[in-house]
Every structure is written in C-alpha cells, then in structure tokens.
C-alpha cells in the first residue's frame, strides 16, 4: 500500500511542477534555518572540548549574596575555592581558573591582544586540552611560581608567525613579564567562556597574592571532578550542605546562594537566583523556531489545500468505491510526508552550504559548525512535525468533501 502511495505522490509532484517547487522551497529553507540554529546550539552546548569528563564534573560559576534591599552576585574568590570548596571530601580534584582578562603585547611594532587566564595545576588534569606541542605545567612548577605558560595554537601563530617551528621553550611577553612556553593547545571558541583564553598562567605567578582576599567574591571559577559518575549527586549534596553552613559575611545579607551545576545549567545560569536561565534559553529558542516555522507552514497548508482540491475528482471516485475518510487522510499525510522529506534532503544540502559559509566567514573564531548525528536527528524531528502540521488540516478538509460535489466539480 505504501508503495502505491509513494508512486502516486511522485506522479502528483511531477504533474504540477510549480506547486512542487513552492512547497520544496518553503520546506527546505525553513529546515535550513532550523538546522543551522540547532547546529549552533549543539556546538555551543554539546561540544565537550576541553571538558571531556563532563559526566563526572560539576561547575561552580557564581555565588550570590541576598539581603532585604540589596543583592550581589559574582564569581568566587580564590580563598573560597581553596578553603571551602577545596575542603570537600567527594571531589577527586578541583580545577580553579580566573575569568579571562585582556592585555596587550608589542612585537616588532605590532600590537597583539592577549586574553589570559590563571589556572591551578589540577586544571590540566580535570580538563583534557589537546596538546599540539609540549605539556601542561606541573604541580611542582606551579608551587615554585615558575613563569611558565600554556598558549593556544592561534596565539602561537599570531605571535611567532605562521611557520611550524616549535614554540616550546621560547618566551612570550604578557603584562610586561616574560613567560617560558611549556605547551601549545588546540584553540577553543570564545563561546566556551569558562575555558577560553589565549595563554594560561599558573595562579602562583599572579602579581598580587589571590589568597589574601578573604571574602567570598572574586574572579575565579571552578570545576569539581568526582571519582565516578555515581559520586556526582553526593558531591552536589555536599556542596549544598557546605553553602548552607557558610557564615554570612555581613548584616546586610540574609541568604547565600551558590550551586554546583552540571554543564548545561551552569552555562545558562543568569547570575540571578530568581530567574531560571534554563527557562529563558529554551523559551527564546522555541519562540524563534515557532516564528520561523509558522509562516512557511501556513503557506504550505494553503498550497496543499489548493493541490488537494484540484484532485477532487480522484477523491470523489475513491470515495464512491468505498474508501473511508481515514484511508484518504492517511494517504494524503503520507504523500505530504514524502514531500517534506524530499524538501528536507534539499534542506540538508543547503545547511551544509550555509554552514560552510559561516565557518569560512569566521564570525566566531574556532567555532566550526558541523552537521553531525544529533543535528540530523533534530532535523528529522522538525521535519516530521512540519509535515504533520502542514498535512493534517488539508487532509481533514479533503476527507469531508461530499462525493457528489467532488465528482461534479469537473
């Protein structure tokens, strides 16, 4: 039966080439937009370079003090992360890093802007950066306060030129201090803001001692790594207990909020306890997707009705020979799905082209959009929704046609 439907569908599509073109254009274009959008979200949210141990990790992003009249929200002080979070039992390791800051350096009358980040030695064990040359600085070097640095591949090219000679052992100057390069890592896009930097320095080389500030707030974030995935809920629980027992630092505050979140929650946390970042992010994406899909769907419904009404004689004959409304509706939905899938195939081709252009335009450096399995799955899902949305109403209208009028129409 399905085979017959398929044959009919192809025949119908070839009969009215103009309508077929309109439908395919609408479907493929809409899917292209949605696919590029999902590819972008997938890349930003699901790409697990450099934090490959995501299922064992919890992310500490910010701490919020709340009082009756005031609210203060910021990332952590180094003191808090080493003294309080560092004393937790469940985590195997804790990666501490500062938020990235910019500075300049001047090489041969050229100005180079460098985003730098201070990290502890465990940072390199918790996170799996891909080392192109050399390796990370060790705990020993960090404890000694050695002026060593891990730099990104992009910055190596910018600083030392495009030749492939090794950079390890050379010196790079930042903030008027020379650091010896001990490793080069593959660059990451700025959208992974917790891990992005051009150069990574040991915290011990900071010009001011970060541990001297005994407040809770400062410029550091952390990743807690559990021994196994089973320990993650326990670790989250331990952190919650820790926060609830934390002494409140002043009279103007009555609550302290801070959460150890899995990656996605930490990424969209707004820094305001009263608003859920997750809800905002999902809401924005859904509204945009609906907005993009609504017009083409309406258009497709319109065109489909026109197409189906054109075939009223065929429907009349089939009904006269005893086909039930259900079979007819089924047939037309299948036909419409075939059309949708054809359109989505074209859409996939379009999206590959569009992604290629976005990647080569380098809107965001190191953010390479790719069409992977997840994105394809989402595309398939939207495709089905799209096909059903635009097929059901016309099919229902058609199935209600009166046999006599349908036959008389011609």
């Amino acid at each position: 039966m399905l085979k017959n439907y398929f044959k009919i569908a192809i025949a119908v599509l070839r009969r009215r080439k103009f309508f077929t073109f309109i439908s395919l254009f609408g479907i493929s274009f809409t899917l292209t937009i949605l696919m590029v959008l999902t590819a972008f979200i997938d890349k930003v949210v699901n790409d697990n370079y450099p934090d490959r141990k995501r299922d064992r990790s919890l992310y500490l992003g910010n701490i919020e003090l709340r009082g009756k009249e005031s609210m203060n929200s910021s990332s952590f002080s180094y003191y808090f992360l080493t003294h309080f979070a560092g004393s937790m039992k469940t985590p195997e390791m804790i990666a501490i890093s500062s938020r990235s800051n910019s500075t300049n350096t001047y090489v041969n009358n050229r100005k180079i802007t460098i985003d730098y980040k201070y990290t502890n030695a465990d940072y390199w064990n918790v996170l799996d950066y891909d080392f192109i040359e050399g390796k990370a600085f060790t705990k020993q070097q960090s404890d000694n306060g050695d002026r060593v640095v891990v730099i990104s591949e992009d910055k190596k090219k910018e600083y030392f030129g495009d030749d492939n000679s090794p950079a390890v052992g050379k010196y790079i100057e930042a903030d008027n201090v020379k650091y010896r390069i001990c490793g080069v890592v593959r660059s990451i896009p700025i959208t992974a803001y917790n891990f992005y930097a051009d150069i990574y320095l040991p915290i011990t080389t900071m010009k001011t001692n970060p541990a001297s500030d005994k407040g809770y707030m400062g410029g550091f974030v952390a990743v807690l790594l559990a021994k196994s995935t089973d320990d993650v809920p326990k670790m989250q629980q331990e952190y919650a207990t820790l926060i609830s027992k934390l002494p409140i630092p002043g009279k103007e505050w009555d609550h302290i909020y801070s959460h150890a979140d899995p990656y996605i929650q930490s990424y969209v946390r707004t820094g305001n306890e009263e608003k859920s970042g997750m809800l905002y992010a999902i809401g924005a994406v859904v509204i945009f997707a609906l907005f993009v899909m609504l017009l083409p769907t309406l258009n497709l419904v319109n065109v489909n009705i026109t197409r189906i009404m054109e075939r009223s004689s065929e429907i009349g004959v089939r009904k006269a020979f005893g086909a039930s409304s259900k079979t007819l509706v089924y047939q037309f939905i299948v036909e419409n799905m075939i059309l949708t899938f054809l359109g989505s195939l074209i859409g996939v081709v379009f999206s590959i082209v569009v992604m290629y252009f976005i990647n080569s335009a380098k809107l965001i450096a190191n953010l390479d959009l790719t069409l992977n399995f997840t994105v394809l799955c989402y595309a398939l899902l939207t495709c089905i929704v799209f096909g059903l949305l635009s097929g059901v109403y016309p099919a229902w209208r058609m199935s209600k046609l009166n046999i006599v009028t349908a036959l008389k129409a011609q």
């Binding site: 937009i33 300049n104 001047y106 903030d175 010009k207 309406l298 319109n302 054109e310």
Partner: protein
C-alpha cells in the same frame, strides 16, 4: 464573492497578516537603527585610546597614591604624540559597561541615568562639546558634591526647552541636592546604531583614582604601535602590579556596532526568505483560483467585458483580501507605539507601519499581475465549452 469563500481566504488573510507583522518588525528595527545612525556621535572617537588599569599600589597613604596617579597623567600628557588625556570610570564609550542611578526632580523620579566620573580634561580628550554652561575646572574640586554636568538628553527630559543652568535636583532619595553648572552634548555610548541615554558627569576626587580604572588618551593622527608600546611601558613601570590594556575606540566601536548589525542582517535574510516563500504561495493560490473560475471569467468575457477589466477584477480582489489582513495587522502594530513596547519613538513605528503596508500592497500587486493577465487571456468559447 470574497465573503462566499471566507474559509479559503481566511488562510490567505492570516498568511498576509503574519507577513505584515514580520515586515513591520524588520522595518522598525532598520528604521530605528538608521535614525540612530544619522544622529551625531557626540565625540571624536578616532585616535582615541582607552588604557585600563587596576589599583594595585602597595602604599595606603592617600597622598602618595594621589601623587602617583597625578604624576602618571602628567607623564602621559608630556609624551609628544599625546594631545590630551584624562581619567574616567570604566563606562567609557562602546565598552557596554554601565553604572546607572536615579534622580529626583520636582518629586518625579527619573531612572536609568548613566553616571560618569572623570576629570576636567574630559571634554577636550573625548571631543565632546558643551551645549550650555561650562565644564568643571580646577577650582570645582572643593564643592564637587554640590555641582553636576548633565547631558543634553537628560536636560530635555527634565526641563524641555527651558534653561537648565543653575537648576537644582536631588539624588534618588531626594536627599543630596546638586546644582547644574553645564549641559554637554549627548554621546552614543553604545555605538552608531543605538540611541544616546540619559547621562550625568561627576567630577572625581582624589579617592576615585583607585577605582576609576580607565585613562582616555587622545593622540595625533598616524600614531603607530611603536608609540603605543612606549605608552604601555610607561604604564607598566608606573603601576607595576597592575594589568594594563590599551584599546582603540574605533576598534571597540566596530565591535559594538556588530551587536546591532549582525542581528539586523540575520533578521533581514530570514525575513526576505519568508517573504519570497509567501509571495510564491500567494502566486500559486491565485493561479489555481483563476483556473477554477474559468467558467465565470469566460462568461464575463462573452458578454463583452474587456480583457483589462477582467484582469483588473483579479488584481482588485486580491488587493481587497490584502486590505482586510492589513487592517488586522495595523491594529496589532499600532499597539506597539501605544503601549510603548521596547521604548522606541512612536515616529519609528508609524513610519514602519506605512512602509510595511506599502510593501505588502506592492508584493500582492506583483503576485496577482500575472494571474490577472492569464485570466484576461481566457477565450470565452474555450472556457464555456469546458463547462
């Protein structure tokens, strides 16, 4: 005729209605950006640099701190390529860094006022012009808490056309009173495509050096990275433990503009495709309708209607449908200026509505021209024979 087929037309109407809203949205965005673009920037951002520093001096003696920072500024100014330099708070142009406050004037609170703190060289360094009154001078340091300079936009909000100089207003709680001594022109702090906000400028005191965090430097045209390196070294040797960064305001402006331009370009591309989609759809539906109504058209032709009148009928019918959906669309669009959604000036919305209406009419007209002509080409004999 149209009423009889209201079911079929309702889909077409809602489609045109939605397209209208999309077009209206894109036009409002574009017109608003354009209107902001043509208002003057308010400062001379070319050859203007911003140096960031943080306070890391080891001494706690306020006098020596002040001395270090004052000497630093003097040394920067003494460099040959530097035309002028001044301290400023972190909310410099195009930095998307905000410090806002509220004030009370005649019992009425005005919120979201950007508060800038800087020194007496500020207008000269930035290239801002005084509209009325004067900027701060050395002698104002004594009573800096009692005087204020506001920007033109805030002046218009508070006083309209009246003169602002010498007027007094209170802070957020209406406690501390300050007197206006000058009005400076409004500056588009968020880049070319964003409106200037309300602003007021305070004079710094010696304690502010610790947290202001920026030095604005105006240099002569053609100054190269070599000089910038020297400037950097001067900063780095004076403030040894500080993190120093020098940024060029024209680069920052480009970054700030992208925040408006990239969404605008993406929306326009998406909208353009949606509209092409809709146009093809309308075209297809009309075309089909003509084929179905061959009998009626043939009859009209047979009893002597000229070809032009037949094609006019088709075009007119589609324009009537358009009018119906535009009435609906305008009703919704008018809510935007009435309810002050997004706080854009009403003129932008009204212009956007007019342009969107014209655009949709034109679109439908073009889409119905060909089906109309096709209808006119129907031979009465053939059409009636079919029936």
């Amino acid at each position: 005729m149209i009423w009889n087929k209201k079911k079929q037309n309702s889909l077409l109407i809602s489609e045109i209605f939605l397209s209208f809203l999309v077009i209206f949205g894109v036009f409002s965005f574009a017109i608003n950006s354009y209107r902001n673009y043509i208002t003057p920037m308010g400062i001379e951002y070319k050859n203007l640099w911003a140096i960031s520093y943080n306070h890391t001096l080891e001494t706690n003696n306020p006098d020596s701190v002040t001395l270090v920072y004052e000497n630093l500024l003097r040394n920067i100014k003494a460099m040959p390529q530097v035309l002028s330099a001044s301290y400023s708070t972190g909310n410099i142009p195009f930095a998307s860094n905000h410090m806002s406050t509220g004030i009370t004037y005649k019992k009425e609170q005005i919120m979201n006022i950007n508060q800038y703190t800087s020194d007496e060289n500020f207008p000269k360094t930035m290239g801002a012009k005084m509209v009325a009154g004067r900027w701060y001078n050395k002698g104002d340091a004594v009573n800096r808490d009692r005087i204020i300079v506001i920007n033109e936009k805030l002046k218009e909000k508070m006083f309209g056309k009246e003169d602002a100089i010498g007027k007094v207003f209170g802070d957020y709680d209406d406690k501390k009173k300050v007197k206006i001594i000058g009005v400076v022109n409004s500056v588009k702090y968020e880049g070319d495509y964003q409106r200037p906000g309300y602003g007021m400028y305070k004079l710094h005191d010696t304690a502010s050096y610790k947290w202001m965090g920026k030095i604005m430097v105006k240099v002569t045209p053609g100054t190269d990275a070599g000089f910038e390196g020297k400037l950097y070294k001067l900063m780095a040797t004076t403030l040894k433990k500080s993190n120093i960064e020098i940024e060029h305001l024209d680069n920052k402006l480009r970054g700030a503009n992208n925040f408006t331009l990239i969404p605008l370009i993406i929306f326009s591309i998406v909208a353009a495709f949606l509209i092409i989609n809709v146009a093809l759809g309308i075209f297809g539906v009309l075309w089909y309708n003509i084929n179905k109504r061959k009998g009626e058209i043939g009859l009209r032709r047979a009893i002597g209607a000229p070809a032009s009148s037949v094609s006019m009928q088709i075009v007119a019918e589609s324009l009537i449908i358009t009018t119906l959906s535009l009435i609906l669309g305008t009703f919704f669009a008018v809510q935007f200026p009435l309810l002050h959604v997004f706080d854009l000036p009403a003129g932008v919305y009204i212009l956007a509505i007019c342009l969107a209406i014209a655009f949709i009419y034109l679109l439908v007209f073009i889409c119905s021209l060909h089906p109309g002509r096709q209808a006119a080409a129907v031979y009465p004999a053939v059409a009636l024979h079919e029936e």
